[in-house]
């Protein structure tokens, strides 16, 4: 058998929109491992939903650390999730027109829900203190 030679060729490809989205899926994934796991374990297991009320949220958001933590969660998690949803729907929608509608629809959906969350996070707990 003739000896085979191997050639490694490196090609620089100008990143397009989908490639940037793919890269950010991965960056956000790495950020989300500690963010989501800490959040879910702390709220759902350590504290538990039975121990929560408005006072609990007020106490948590009184700390700038947890507000920044929640802002990072909102920013990374929801974008990662909606882009993942887009990837799944791309399996079902193939036409150029359909994809355009899908992309814009999901972008608007993401923006609206993100803004609702962001306004609430900045606004804080909307009730007279001390809480009942």
């Amino acid at each position: 058998m003739a000896a085979t030679t191997e050639t490694v060729r490196r090609v620089k490809v100008k990143p397009n929109y989908e490639m940037i989205a793919w890269k950010w899926m991965r960056y956000s994934a790495f950020a989300l491992i500690p963010l989501v796991w800490i959040h879910a374990i702390l709220q759902d297991v350590v504290v538990g939903v039975h121990a929560m009320d408005l006072g609990y949220v007020a106490e948590r958001w009184a700390s700038i650390f947890w507000r920044v933590f929640d802002a990072l969660l909102l920013g990374f998690a929801f974008a990662h999730g909606v882009n993942g949803l887009r990837q799944v729907l791309n399996d079902f929608i193939h036409g150029e027109r359909g994809r355009k509608i899908l992309n814009w629809g999901l972008f608007i959906f993401w923006l609206v829900v993100f803004l609702i969350g962001a306004i609430a996070l900045i606004g804080g707990v909307n009730q007279q203190f001390p809480l009942e």
Partner: protein, 141 residues
């Protein structure tokens, strides 16, 4: 409509064993989490927009049915994360190891790690539901 059918039968009928199952589980867990996340952003926003509605949502989360959902959610979050790390690891550090055998082995390991992470959390959540919804003291009243 035909693309819907072709894609769905492909999802169901493809016989890739562990690789296929992990693909499906990654999608299902991801979709589950993003569905909850959307609801969760809105219910937390009630804290600012309508505090009374937040308390109603909280009462719903404290029910047994939603409690079971939350236990499933924790599994989704763990599996999706561990499986994502597995994919990123092979992609970035060991691209030469993308063999079928290695994929099958690593997929099984992923599932075991996820379950090990999930079990103590699930136990404690079951304990909380029994304690607060039924007054049953399972562990440490």
């Amino acid at each position: 409509m035909s693309t819907l059918k072709t894609t769905l039968t492909g999802y169901a009928g493809y016989r890739g064993r562990e690789g296929h199952w992990s693909f499906l589980l990654h999608r299902i867990t991801g979709l589950g989490v993003v569905l909850f996340l959307t609801i969760h952003i809105i219910d937390i926003a009630f804290v600012y927009f309508r505090p009374a509605l937040f308390l109603e949502a909280l009462a719903l989360y404290q029910t047994t049915l939603f409690g079971i959902g939350e236990i499933a959610l924790i599994f989704c979050v763990f599996f999706h994360g561990v499986n994502g790390l597995r994919i990123a690891y092979f992609d970035m550090f060991k691209p030469g190891m993308w063999s079928i055998e290695m994929q099958r082995k690593s997929t099984r390991t992923t599932l075991i790690i996820s379950i090990i992470l999930w079990l103590p959390a699930a136990f404690w959540m079951v304990r909380n539901i029994l304690l607060h919804n039924y007054g049953i003291v399972l562990f440490g009243g």
